[in-house]
Symmetry: C2
Subunit: 208 residues, 2 copies
Amino acid sequence: MKIAIIGTGSIGKMLGRKWAEAGHEVMFGSREAVRAQAVAAEIAGTMGGGVVEAAAFCEAALLAIPWYAFTDIERAIGEGLDGKIVIDCINPLKSSGSLAIGHKWSAGEEIARTWHRAKVVKAFNHIHVKTFENPVYDGKKATAFYCSNDDDAKTAIVQLAADLGLAPVDAGPIKNARLLEPLGALWMQLAFKLHHNTDLAFLLVDRE
Amino acid sequence: MKIAIIGTGSIGKMLGRKWAEAGHEVMFGSREAVRAQAVAAEIAGTMGGGVVEAAAFCEAALLAIPWYAFTDIERAIGEGLDGKIVIDCINPLKSSGSLAIGHKWSAGEEIARTWHRAKVVKAFNHIHVKTFENPVYDGKKATAFYCSNDDDAKTAIVQLAADLGLAPVDAGPIKNARLLEPLGALWMQLAFKLHHNTDLAFLLVDRE
């Protein structure tokens, strides 16, 4: 496949290199063509050029730019990607780390605001009955993300999740219910609409 | 711990039973006390009663109700959970399956609208360079969720993700970028703010 990598950051470089190694034709594109050419010079079998050139070259474009740069890139490329595949890997984050689009409030925050003298923790919203029944998948415990502003609530939820055989993972303050509630909705989409299997769970995996 | 389970649905029953088995004192609470008592009668070592009674009894309450019921429950309980731990496992969903709070738009949809003649797919926004470098965690490939309204884009992304050694998983239409972008933001919270380790990835696990 002919792939344009729009953007010369670490993700774009990594994917361009891996796809070139897998046999794809890769061209980096940047608003400053020389920057894309410099990246291409480092990565065997790839080319570099302006964004218009990269768009014209490709069958599929990876959009690996910060969200604030999209308007400029869109103006530069114009209709250059019409009919082509565009892979969007952008997280539209503000400098605070919160999402720039949507996601302004959550049930968890509403509950914490309503019961502001209680110690509210968001948890278990992305875990199904089948996972509670048997939380171990191929030897690994399903992850139970939780978030709260209250230390007592966090201590309690760690124990209560462990009592269920789950692996509790701290997901930060109650504000992050804005992130865990979409995870619950994603689970439902996967289980009910896409894969027709409710014995699904998320695992957070790491290498220290 | 003294735990109130507010709600008598499948999640509440399952967790009440598991926590009772783990040695906690469990009381089910429902706006119709007789319903909670019926549930308690089925589950050894648990009690049932009204929501006010359950709130008064507990140290920690699991809120296992539909989101639309929260206002009524809150009116019924009043200050009954002040100072106590409240575990919120609610997904605030509308009947359409979308979230009732926040999450009205996404970068993926904006890009697909702007380039409506291109074939836009949201992907790779929740995967870090370290995962691209080595996508296998303890013998399992990290999951690459993607969403798109375009079949060509989906076919392409499955191949391109496989070329990276990832396990591609269809997450539905481009509208679900509203769910994948929070997943990217969750990854960042976990990696940079909470666990200080960027070699983290999500796995979707299942049992057929």
